[in-house]
Symmetry: C2
Subunit: 397 residues, 2 copies
């Protein structure tokens, strides 16, 4: 059983703050400071170029990939770290399209991250005018999985409301129609149990700076199913994805397995911070995280609904179909959220009217939920955002 | 006049080591430790998500881009940091090709980084069978600039020998034939003065972890000429390149100017290390670096040629056509370099027979050159690599 009091003690959390925005940027693991300092001083500073071998830098994107792989149900050796999530989406969709070469349509939904849609728009424009991105409402995805689709690209947990797609059912439906799947796990990895292998997902991508707490701009990850990886052509064919990066051949030959999805030199300082965070995750079972997350979210919903009649639940009420976050709709939500933040409860706002709160069992407990509810009720019931001292600037993301 | 004794004192250099591999990975600026620690503790730890505004994270890829821009002759506001060099090469060549839409050929040379060639091979395969990468010998580039070329992609300084292309002459020749240029400055930025604006270069890219000393995996940069930037379509169209990233529109609209070449969330811990390194660069004039670099390289060549008859100069003898490195060819170069490294002089080996040494005036001085020459002469003249204690493993890059 995961000891969440112990994990909470492993984070540096600012005094007097209840941080419900770990779905945007996770907080600082206490050991990250020392781990990064040692990487800088003892590895970069002393080993210099030999650090690539001596300190194991070169292999770290794979070993950390496997540790994240455990949290998302990936087969060992099939997850690698690097780049940003946008780049990993590009790689996954580009490869998936080529594995389905007679088709030209990518299906997604308008609850996906806009950035994922942007990346596909850019990719398809490069590929030619006969490619199409089709975007439907989240609830219409299943009905729109048709035999003309090449790729179904979805984010499992809606970043605004926390609504979850049924990864297993939609993947099965896609496969029945000959469609490849690309799953974005940005709000899933470290938030909800994921079973990539069990769902037969084809490609998956995600980021490490939200629930995985790797710090701002930490590297992303990519998963390619074992049955595809040796056939997947890397569109971004960089030297570290080459079969023999140090042979300096003039022609690209993809490396074996997931290594081919590496591109350029990995960000070793960011990886050191992620490594420290993974030391916490290594002690955690996702089933425990999920159970506690649902408890925290349910408690928050009950507390808010009992005290803030003006807020309307915008997340699924059923915890099993909701990610690790709760959103409420409120017309003056932007201003209200600024006042909530000014009072030390950090959530965020998403247009047009969503007040969003993330619940992360590793460092948020029942007392935090109750404290947040009390502050939000005070803000709402006294319309604190109308007072000049609460009109502060929003956090950006 | 740059004070190189002062800059040398700003680096942590391992005791007893002469580090001539700053062209692969630059050493640790002393202030980087504190700068990164403060970024982690005071910014990530205390500001959390509000760091994007409060700590200025969001703008840092642009402000640091401008500081690097000063070193490479870029117009202010036209360089941005992010991703890896491979990704930036992809962006630059993809955009350059679209700006020359009736042509299908990219010309490069076999002295370019293999990674740059790999990236273009991958890009062209995505674009279609009618696209071609043409690779010629470096000395034949000028003669092969023909009117069927869309893009000329070259690395200014050859990573093996230090031979320099004439950026101004080749860019003029390219423009006369209607060809776009993409210059890779990986071995130029911080090594030799570059005048992108004066040369009328179209696109340029480079990395920060070599001569710019940002640490392993530090972010890359991209430059787009002012006359092209608002017409350049970003192939990797991520959310931070969007006109309004936080509006969460479903359709991509490129941002103004160089911002459109941003892709995903920037690696803020790596950027903190780069920021510390740039505090040194801010005090440095590239003309001084160039003068001192030529002096150091000439001194090294003279010393080696006087003491090591078996080594054959593989770099240009004329310092004005050579980057900030010197290479010697030697049949048993791989084994010999391992022995040199074991004796504390860190250079590296490049197949088939190149022993490579980088000279970086910020922290290498005449005494280092003389010390390195003495050790290399001892290794060569006593064939130390034949002794078992010197058969150590090579540094990887």
């Amino acid at each position: 059983m995961t000891d969440f009091a112990a994990t909470k003690a492993m984070f540096d959390l600012p005094e007097g703050m209840i941080y419900l925005d770990g779905n945007s940027l996770g907080p600082l693991p206490k050991t990250a400071k020392a781990r990064v300092a040692s990487m800088i001083e003892d590895e970069w500073g002393q080993m210099l170029i030999t650090g690539w071998n001596k300190a194991g830098w070169m292999q770290q994107p794979l070993s950390i990939g496997d540790r994240i792989g455990r949290l998302i149900g990936a087969e060992p050796g099939h997850v690698v770290m690097g780049d940003t999530l946008s780049i990993k989406v590009y790689q996954a969709v580009a490869s998936a399209l080529e594995l389905n070469p007679t088709r030209r349509v990518v299906l997604s939904d308008n609850g996906n991250f806009p950035s994922d849609l942007y990346i596909v728009q850019g990719l398809l424009k490069s590929l030619g005018a006969d490619f199409e991105l089709r975007v439907v409402d989240p609830e219409d995805v299943a009905a729109n999985i048709t035999e003309d689709l090449a790729v179904l690209m979805l984010t499992e947990v809606d970043y605004r409301t926390g609504r979850m797609h049924d990864m297993k059912a939609l993947t099965e439906l896609a496969h029945a129609k000959g469609v490849m799947t690309v799953w974005d796990l940005a709000h899933s990895a470290g938030a909800v149990p994921v079973d990539l292998a069990g769902c037969q997902a084809d490609f998956a991508v995600g980021c490490s700076y939200k629930y995985l707490n790797s710090g701002p701009g930490g590297p992303a990850f990519i998963y390619v199913a074992p049955r595809h990886v040796d056939a997947a052509r890397p569109a971004l064919s960089g030297w570290l994805g080459h079969e023999a990066p140090f042979a300096f051949d003039l022609d690209y030959r993809p490396g074996t397995g997931i290594e081919r999805m590496r591109v350029g030199t990995p960000p070793m300082i960011q990886l050191a911070a992620l490594d420290a965070s993974m030391e916490i995750w290594d002690q955690v079972e996702m089933a425990d995280v999920r159970a506690k997350s649902i408890t925290l979210c349910d408690r928050f919903i009950a507390g808010i609904e009992a005290s803030c009649p003006e807020l309307t639940l915008a997340s699924p009420r059923d915890g099993t179909t909701r990610g690790s976050q709760v959103s409420f709709a409120f017309e003056e939500g932007y201003a209200a959220m600024q006042a909530v933040i000014a009072r030390g409860v950090i959530g965020d706002f998403r247009a047009p009217d969503i007040m969003r709160f993330g619940f992360t069992p590793l460092y948020i407990d029942d007392a935090d939920v109750d404290g947040a509810v009390a502050i939000i009720a005070d803000v709402m019931n006294n319309r604190l955002w109308d007072r000049p001292e609460y009109k502060i600037r929003a956090a950006v993301t």
